[in-house]
Symmetry: C2
Subunit: 470 residues, 2 copies
């Protein structure tokens, strides 16, 4: 083991091979569910160093765990407990290599913080639309590795859809120079999309060329009370028709989820939730003007109220009010934590089936666990719900989690599968959902995935034990 450590020190310098002291920042996962033990944390400065580190590890048979901001939610970026895995942190590779306004692209290194991308684009008068809760600390490499989603997917797609090209260090320590500012390139297999979302199990993304968009002239936020999930889906259809590509956000929130925000964050004003089953947060991005955006929004909400799918609504008067509305939405996970232990899900089903899925699954859970409370919210525009299960108000929440987690997961995931859905919409598989994937993914898909993994990483040294077992 000393030999590989010496080799790594020779590549990145002594100061960037960490083996002692508190390594929690790299060894403990974001949700604090798993603490691993690394052989070392290695922090290369550039692509050549990453390639050399991979080559050295490959030669020594040492497994590697690539890591960005370590904000993943499925235990995909922390080492296991063996003390044999090297954490390969990309954090020092955080340069914006180039911005090309005429081509609407930006080339960045994997360790760039998401917020840096947003700010760099904004300075050039452009928009980088990926936006999610961890944007102040997650890295674009991690976003790509996990194909992160977020709040603007309804218009701009997932991270995958925002990427034109990649630079990747392969499991053999070679560099695939696939950076590209091209919107069309049909010269062979789509390696880019294969690496995106592979959670570091096929190679290490070191840089990427990302798409930029014109900055909208105005962005308005509205908040609507809807009587049912069916009504929320109806409102979504109306919003697509009225706003077209202007619809950049569509979040649904259940009454209980909102009541937790009102209960635990008393300084926040939570509008309209008390007399309705669900509220919807809508965002309208307009390339013309704020007054045009407002007109469009008002016409949509009038139509929706005539239709009956909306019973009451407010449009934020200014940016501060808009931020407050979004802040309510973003506070749900925190309020849920304040309320106590809970079981989280990140699922998707076709938008058209969401109402039926929720009705059926709610009933199954209520029957299985009397008093269970559902914190239901999410990106309805993408068919993606964070369908979370809070322990009953009375009783021992820790015992509930211990005794019921497997049971609840099985019930929810079986229901998701019955509705043609996904058990991981935007968070990935990591180590957390490894067993679940074996159960819910088709054997043919798993066998195709294994053939690819064996072809690209025959020694199984790239983030082993994540995504799929070999």
């Amino acid at each position: 083991m000393d030999k590989i450590l010496d080799a790594l020190r020779a590549i990145v310098g002594d100061a960037h091979v960490l083996t002692g002291g508190d390594l929690s920042a790299w060894e403990l996962d974001w949700r604090k569910r798993a603490r691993g033990k690394a052989l070392a944390v290695v922090r290369p400065a550039d692509t050549a160093q990453v390639a050399a580190v991979v080559s050295a590890c490959a030669a020594a048979g040492v497994p590697m765990v690539p890591q960005g901001g370590n904000t993943g939610l499925v235990g995909g970026s922390t080492p296991d407990a063996s003390g044999r895995q090297v954490v390969l942190s990309l954090q020092r590779m955080n340069a914006v290599r180039a911005i090309d306004s005429a081509n609407l692209t930006m080339t960045v290194e994997a360790g760039c913080i998401l917020q840096t991308l947003q700010e760099t684009a904004e300075k050039a008068g452009l928009l980088f639309p990926l936006s999610l809760a961890a944007e102040g600390s997650c890295t674009i490499g991690g976003n790509l590795g996990s194909n992160a989603g977020g709040t603007q997917v309804v218009r701009y797609g997932n991270t995958r859809d925002l990427c034109l090209g990649l630079e990747v260090v392969t499991a053999q320590g070679e560099v695939w120079e696939g950076l590209s500012g091209l919107r069309k390139d049909n010269t062979g297999y789509d390696l880019r999309d294969l690496f995106i979302g592979s959670e570091g199990t096929l190679g290490i993304i070191t840089a990427a060329t990302m798409k930029l968009y014109p900055m909208p002239a105005a962005q308005l936020t509205a908040w609507a009370a809807v009587p049912s999930m069916e009504d929320a889906v109806t409102l979504l259809g109306l919003a697509h028709r009225h706003l077209g590509a202007g619809l950049t956000g569509f979040e649904v929130m259940g009454r209980f989820a909102l009541s937790l925000v009102a209960k635990h964050f008393k300084q926040q004003r939570v509008p309209l939730y008390e007399d309705t089953a669900f509220c919807v947060l809508l965002e309208n991005s307009d390339h013309e003007s704020e007054s045009h955006a407002r007109e469009q929004f008002e016409r949509l909400l009038e139509t929706a109220m005539e239709d009956g799918c909306v019973t009451d609504a407010v449009v934020a008067e200014n940016l501060q009010q808009a931020h407050q509305l979004w802040h309510v939405r973003e506070s749900i996970p925190l309020a849920q934590a304040e309320e106590g232990l809970n079981i989280k899900h990140d699922i998707s089903v076709p938008v058209s089936l969401i109402p039926e899925f929720v009705r059926v699954t709610d009933q199954l859970l209520a029957k299985a666990i009397p008093g269970v409370r559902l914190v239901n919210f999410g990106h309805l525009g993408d068919g993606n719900l964070h369908y979370n299960v809070q322990a009953p108000a009375e009783g021992d929440a820790a015992a509930f989690l211990r005794e019921q987690e497997e049971n609840v997961n099985a019930l929810v995931y079986d229901s998701v599968q019955a509705f043609g859905g996904s058990i991981s919409a935007e968070h990935g598989v990591g180590s957390l959902k490894l067993d679940k994937l074996e159960k819910h993914k088709s054997p043919v898909a798993l066998s195709l995935m294994r053939a690819i993994k064996r072809g690209l990483d025959p020694e199984n040294l790239m983030n082993p034990g994540r995504v799929l077992r070999i």
Copy 2:
């Protein structure tokens, strides 16, 4: 050989195993450059039959060439001359399986004609935006296999971007049931995008779930004279800012290309081309109203004329005029054929580098081949040019093609590579560009592609000799 033919007849019925008569429709490629000889043309009726055909061929070691409308431009869907390959035609599998308006998706079989998808969507009040010259005869399976582009990519992306899920028969004759109406699904490797654009070399796409969009309230077309390619790029930037996602088409056409339409199709009126280096065709799709679309367009063109990047412009007054303008653009390839033999390219470079690429490559060609004439047009919004080379006006065009094609291709493709571009933007590789790919694609990319091909199709029976040599 009789044994495998008997097996195929047993699966699909005698009437659907064609071995005699004129099989040109399946054996001759669209550009009439290559005539192959099939062992048989097999026309399965459903996915189970496709799987059985693949299993039978795999067991007998018989190579398969999947085929849709046989409109590909790179010789990817016709058999070689060996008489050993089975053409597996998907044309009988042409059902629209489902349309889900609330989810904005449509599930179709691979043999559906592209125009059928457009019309089916329209009947539901929705838009399926893929649009290209062969839409009346190409199939969605072929569009997916080749990741077809077309005229609306600037807004809606390539075929890849319009697909949510696939059903695929693997090289082992298994069915991957990956049809999905999900906009978010992070459960493992992106098999969908791996099969899309793989030109039938990894498996056979039998059905797909495609995205639909709200039908715009109005679609307007404008035609602008621009003094230079730099000005065309400036106009594109202005159009992005002014129209946002309303910009659904941006085509550039050189003066010589337009002069050929005027010369060979005298009944067509070609506007504004005589006194300018380039014309641009713009399309604005508006979800609000025609009058709003017109206002937006006029504001854009005013700004562009003040800036100087546009010297003159017309906005189509009605649908008929809009069709006439598009018809001029679509007539360029035909006018080019009328003019005589020519060498076609389908290349892309970053939009920002297009002016410099064109200047440099024009000069190189003019120097190498005195009198050479450039038919330059294409999807500038995507950085994709059909940079075609017409024989000099004087002399023997056939001799020119014979003597200069390799030379011209080498010069153009070397220049494309120097500008970080792609030698096949939207047509694919097929057999036509197999050698070119070996030369211009990075060895690391080729080696990753080979590892995938060997993993998924170890016997090399799926469309062998296309995309890459094993």
